[in-house]
Structures are given as structure tokens and as C-alpha cells.
Symmetry: D2
Subunit: 253 residues, 4 copies
Amino acid sequence: MAARIEEWLEAGKCRLVKEPARMAEEKVEFVISLGGDGTLLEAARAMAAPGIPVLGVNLGRLGFLCEIEKEEIFPALTKVLAGEYKLQRRFMLNAAAQTAGRTAQFTVLNDVVFVRDQSCGLVTLQANLSGEPSVSYPADGMIIATPTGSTAYSLSAGGPIVSPEVEAILLTPLAAHSLSARPMILRSDEEIEILMARGEKCRVTFDGQEELYLHPGERVKVQRSPLQGLLIRLGRRSFPAVVREKLMDRWHD
Amino acid sequence: MAARIEEWLEAGKCRLVKEPARMAEEKVEFVISLGGDGTLLEAARAMAAPGIPVLGVNLGRLGFLCEIEKEEIFPALTKVLAGEYKLQRRFMLNAAAQTAGRTAQFTVLNDVVFVRDQSCGLVTLQANLSGEPSVSYPADGMIIATPTGSTAYSLSAGGPIVSPEVEAILLTPLAAHSLSARPMILRSDEEIEILMARGEKCRVTFDGQEELYLHPGERVKVQRSPLQGLLIRLGRRSFPAVVREKLMDRWHD
Amino acid sequence: MAARIEEWLEAGKCRLVKEPARMAEEKVEFVISLGGDGTLLEAARAMAAPGIPVLGVNLGRLGFLCEIEKEEIFPALTKVLAGEYKLQRRFMLNAAAQTAGRTAQFTVLNDVVFVRDQSCGLVTLQANLSGEPSVSYPADGMIIATPTGSTAYSLSAGGPIVSPEVEAILLTPLAAHSLSARPMILRSDEEIEILMARGEKCRVTFDGQEELYLHPGERVKVQRSPLQGLLIRLGRRSFPAVVREKLMDRWHD
Amino acid sequence: MAARIEEWLEAGKCRLVKEPARMAEEKVEFVISLGGDGTLLEAARAMAAPGIPVLGVNLGRLGFLCEIEKEEIFPALTKVLAGEYKLQRRFMLNAAAQTAGRTAQFTVLNDVVFVRDQSCGLVTLQANLSGEPSVSYPADGMIIATPTGSTAYSLSAGGPIVSPEVEAILLTPLAAHSLSARPMILRSDEEIEILMARGEKCRVTFDGQEELYLHPGERVKVQRSPLQGLLIRLGRRSFPAVVREKLMDRWHD
């Protein structure tokens, strides 16, 4: 597939940059992501700082994020090269973890997932909002997700589906040992702090890529990033359409 | 209580207007709501057009919306009269129902609830977003709620808790006859249309106050209202605090 | 369809009784239910006392209970007439309502549903088990279901799927105004009493057919019936198969 | 506490056996479990084969299983020594894992938990019932629980509360990547087989104590054990009472 695209682009006298690391300095017009939603996420995250939009071409099973299927690639490229597309801006989150005296920074497009280490028991996570304690419960963990991430792990954990254009952050409990824990929707500019109040060891993963460990008393601050993931939209897969296709089941057919 | 407040206000040389209908033309500074969340909702809705803020004094059981308890009334009034308060703006929804050839308009601060008439079977409701069909399932009904309404009926039906400052609209299924129906969070400026696709008769209630009936093919359009409910906040009951107090249970104590 | 079956049976020298009321006294060998799950439920309930098994022929959409589709009718009848079938026994519930000084008795194969009258507010229902108060919450209502009824209304309300051979009774809350209400599984010989503790008016429906109204202080006792619904099984639609077919969705395809 | 009990028993001329390993051969009348629900589970499991009942004394936070609090110990022992108690029988599960060519056997009173290894992605677990495929979905995992285990991890994962006297097994999905996965209630004599259909590595834990790893194609058979945990009941903490105390929350107070 990559070879056919390269040929097609060369025939059209387009310059192709293959090394991700050089895309920004070469000021490419857009990036083609060949793969699934995970590949697209990675590309969109990396291209957010230089502000380069990404076209997601789905090579896998039906995804939520990719704009086109592989057989649609050449008509789609023609359109994109002619500028006939829309940009969809997906907001991202910055997470700053303070562990063992060091601070580490991450940017995510989907979610920050807190989950007890499998060798340990439950963890009690406390969410502080604008500096004030809000919820706290023993649990397997907690998910802080963007609207983009609402259809990823958060949905499995019982969270709602959030339209990608809503400016809000999800906080979804993961197997809470509490009957009253509920998914919560917070302002996109909320200052969220997750404190590990009790337990032994809590893994934190960032878009499922990078990870670190929290110990009691340690915390992660999560806030909206000034950067945005830029997705190329050709007007084919709207939010209502994606939901319609994903939400069909056979019980009531 | 009302008598004691009257006395207190007169002693302070304040003018008191008792008739709701005259509050707007008399240009009152603020309105005192004595009762529960329901009373406050009604006052805030009525005072939204003239732009008059409302102080909710809770005379009932602990509510989500009222700012103060009855024993706090006089210190609170002193503060409000001195202008020492913040305004919280709660967005509202406009609903336009087209039934039997007529159009009826309603404004709600909590929710528009669609529920099958109890003498009839399931209804199939279809939600169109920006004119495009999205979800559709046979169910007892569907709830369209504001963030303010997220802790009312929608919460009982399985919806998430939405911070009052989030700009979003909830769509929560009510006992859907479908395994895949999920609560959804939509943009606050989304153009939502609920179409009664199948069934016999569907009741629609607006903030639990007014009601009408839908028949197959009829629809209700729901959109953000240009008006806002104005609540007086004295800095005592923040969103994190309300959640913290409401979400305690005894399982993990 | 009915005409073709009649013809076929006559050709085979079988006696056909068409009037439901005369089936018991005529000592028919089995009953054919033409319709959906609702028709089958009605037949099985009526034939439980005389102990006559029922063959469910599905004329509607795919149901949980009917054994065969309409195009399979004649091979199926041949088998049944040759005695090549299994009997599946579905336990039923007896409900005794004490309202306004009178007692009314009902037998159900699916469920007893308690739901607030739509003209009224929430009802608080209290479940007493073996005479002892157990759960109690304000809600839209409560469902007491057999395993057979677990895939009907209870499933929409969030209840689990119960294998038809489990000896247990479900208690499923309906939009409870309580964060801690959960579906409960009780012994099949449990003495369940549902008391209307607070509210105005509560409808009670029995297999969705008959109904009555409860007022505060009134109660309904629910217990296992000595009778059983008898369904003819031809070995084609096992519980795992029904679940497998019903539980497919497209999210993870 | 242990010292005070020892003293009290000696004063009453009772023989005390301290070593768990010698309890069976010394034919003790009953076992005292000092700790929380976990300690009680361990004792009841170990004493199931010799048929020795266990009195659970709660030293921790309020548990579901322990019969008495520590301050009630001496009146309780007086009663138990006088034979004034009831035995509650809790059924247990046998799990036989076939991994890497070996078979390992475990007995559990609470649950068998299947969960993807944290270093790996989702696992697809398929449940076969009586040899026939039933449900299958990508997920974090799956829980097979007894009624005793229904108020442990299964409840956190969204499972129903099952009365300890119900003869049934729960199958509760753990963060299923499928909108249609639901908790299921199976016959207590069901032959359940969990097959790891896809994924990399799946941890299986038995009452949270022992563990092993499954790889694709490997499976665990779960069936009712012929043994039963024997709990001493003094008539104080019935199932309705435990539910009533656990299910209170403050939302509707």
C-alpha cells in the first residue's frame, strides 16, 4: 500500500517525506496514517505541535477515527491535495506526574488511565477539582479521557459516548468498590488532580503508550493541552453516522 | 418563614415584591426561592427572560441546586444585599414540538423527557443530530437533559454526572430494548430532533411541569435557549462539594 | 398459516381443538402457539394447570422463547407427534395483591412489574424477604421476574441474563432514585413482599396483561407457583445458542 | 484478642488447637476466624474437606461474611459451645486449568477471575456452557463467581447481588469491549469452560490467592465442588439485613 501511494504521489509530482522525524522541519502539508485508530492517534499527537493535519486511512477493522478505507485512498488524496477538506480539531490533555521527586510530562489524545498494579490490591484514588476534593473510592482504577477517548477504554468501563466537538473531560471509574461511583463530565478547562490516597502501587498509562507508577501520596495533574490533534475530514464520516454504525445490535431487530 | 423574611427585609428598609407576575416590571434585584430544587427551577426559569438572579433557600431535604439551608437565610441575605455573591449561569433548552399540525414551545432548565404512554407498548425514538439520523431504539423513552438536569431523572436512568459549567447536552436512554444504547453527550449548540418512529403514543414532559403527546411521525426539536437561569452563589456549595456529599455510600466505609 | 396447519393435521388424522377454553377438557396432547413470545407466554400460562405442553411457532421477529420458525412447522409437528421432543419446565410466580380490602391472585411466567402511575411522582417500594425488610428506594418502579422474564423488561432495566433452568427470582430496580440500588437474585422459594411505602399510586402489571393499582401501605406478595409452564423443545435452540445469537454486536467485529 | 480468647477457653476447660494444619486431625468442633472476610474465606475453604464449621469474627471494617464483631466474641462463643447456632452451607467451585500440558486444580468460595496481563492488550474469552459456545468478547477479563462472591469483585464489575442460598453461578464481564456483554446467571451444576480464544496472556486468580497464566487455546473448566464452606450463624446477620445495611446511600435521604 505504502509503495502504491508513493508511486501515485510521484506521478503527481508531489514530494513525499517518509521519516516521521523530518516531517515537521520539511513543513509537509499533511500526513497520511496507514493503520488503525492507534496509528492515527500516534500521528496526530506527534503532528499537533507543528500543526500538521493527518489523514487516517484504515487498514484494520472498522475504527472510530479513521476517515477513509484503503480502497478510497486515491480519490481521497486528490481531494486533499486540492484543499477540499475540513479540519477537525481534537483537544488533547497534558498530564504532569510528580513521582519520586521528579516531574514527567505527557500529552494524550485519548486518555490517562490509572490502574492498580496487578500484583497489588485495590487503590484509593481521589480526584481533586480546582483544588477541592471531589470523589474518592477504592477501585481497580480511574480513566481521564477526552471526547476522542470516550469511545475507547472509557466506553468499556461504562462511560458515555461524547461527541468529539464537546469541550469536556470524562472521569470514568474502573470497577469501583463503591456502589455510588458514576462517570462524570467535567469542564475542559478544569484543573484535575488525581491523588493516590491509599494502596500500594498504581500504574498510569498515557494513550496506552507510555507508563509510570504512582505510590501513596503521589499525584498526577491533568489539564487541557494548548495543542490540538488535527484530523482531515472529507465529509464522509460524521459523528451521528459513526454512532449509528457502532450502536446497532440484534436484540431489537 | 416567609413572614420572618418579610419582617427582616422591612426592618432593613428593603422593598419586597410578593407576586411573581410583578417581579419583572418592578425590576427586583433578586428573587428568593423558598422550597426545594423544584421551586428553584421554576423561579429560575421564570426569571431568565428579565435576567433576575434567584437565591435558592432549601426548606426540604438536601437538594443539588439550592445554595443555602433555611437557618442560614439572614446572614445570606445580608451578603446578597451587599452584592457579595457570584452569579452562576445555567444554560437552558428550547423545545419546539410539532404535533397535530400545531407547534408548541417550551423552555427547560432540567430536561425534556419522552416516555411511552403507560397504556401503550414500547416506542421507537430516533434522534437526528444536525439533520442526520444517529441513534434509534425501542425503549420506554429518552431523556434530553442539561448539565443541571444530569443529577435529576437522567441519573436514575443511568446517565453520567455533568458539571454545571460544561457546555453540553445529555441524551440518556430510558430502559432501552437494545443492549447497545448508551448515554451520549452532545454539543450544547447541537440541533437535536427526536422523532417518534414507531409505537402508539409518547408523552413528552418539560421540566416535569408541562406535557403533550406525540404520535408516530411527530417530532420535537431541542436546542440551546438564548436565555440562562441565573443562580446566586455565595461560595459555599461548589460542584466538587455537592458531588462529594452525594456520592458517599457505606460499602467501602 | 392456521388453515394450512389444520389441513395438514386432518390429512394425518389428527384431531384439532381450536377453542382455547376447551383444550383442557378435551385433553389435547399439546398446544401450538402461533405468534411471538407474548402469545406463547399466554398459552403456556393457560396450559400450566392442565399440564399441557406448548410448541411455540414464531411468526414475528426473532424471539427468545419460541422454538421454531414458521417454515419449520411441518417437520417439527411430525417430530412432536412421534413424541420426539423434550419438555422444558419454566417456573412461574404467584402474586397475591391486597388492595382496598380485597385480595386478587395472579400467575405469571415472566414478571410482576411495579411502576409509578404516570400522573404521579416517584414511589418508594420496600422489598421484604421472609418477612424482613431488605431494600427500599424511591424509583420509577421495580420488577420481580422469573428466569424466563430475565430477557424481557428486566434486561432493559439493567438486570442480568438468567439461564431458564436456574431456580431463582430476580428483583430489578427501575430507574431508582438511589445510587446504590442493584439487581438482586433471590431464592426461588423466597417469600417476597413488595410494600408501597410512599408515593401516590403505583401500577402493578402481571405478565403485561392484567393490572391493578397500589396505594401507600398496600402490598403484593410474590412466591413461586406450584404450577410450571411446559415448553416443547426439539433440541434446536439451547440457552447458550440463544445468548450467542442475541449478544452479538458490531463494536468489536 | 487471640490471647484473651485462649484464656477464656482455658478457663472454660476447652481444648484449643492453634495450628491450622492440625485442626482436622484433632477433630476440632469449630474454627474461629479472626480478621476480615478474606481470613474467613481462607478458613472456610480449608475446613470444607474435614467438614468443620467456622465462626467469623470481624476485626476489620464491616464485612459481608463475618457473623460477629470483636466485642461480641464471648457471648457468641458461649452460644456456639452450647450448640445454639445454625450452619450455613456455601457452595464452592472447582476449577481445573489445562495449561502448558499440565492440569492444576483449585477450589474457590468466592471467584475465579480471568484478567489480561497488564503488559498485554485485551484478551478474547469464550465461555462454553455444557460444551456449547455461548458468549465471547474482547475484554479486560471475566469473573466466574459463587453467590458468596457476588458481593466481592463481581459487584464492582457490575454484577448483581445474589442471595447466598441461591444455587447458581455468576459470569460477569470485566470491562468488555462489547456493548452487549451482560452479567449472566447460570445453573450451579453447569459445566463452564472458559477458553482463551485470542490475546497474549491472561492471568487467572483463584479466590485472589493463587494464580496462573493462560495462553491462546488454553482453557479452565469450572464446576460446582462437592464440598461446601460451613459458616456458623447465630441468627444475627440475615441476607436482607446485610443488603439493607450495605445498600444505604445518601442521595435519597
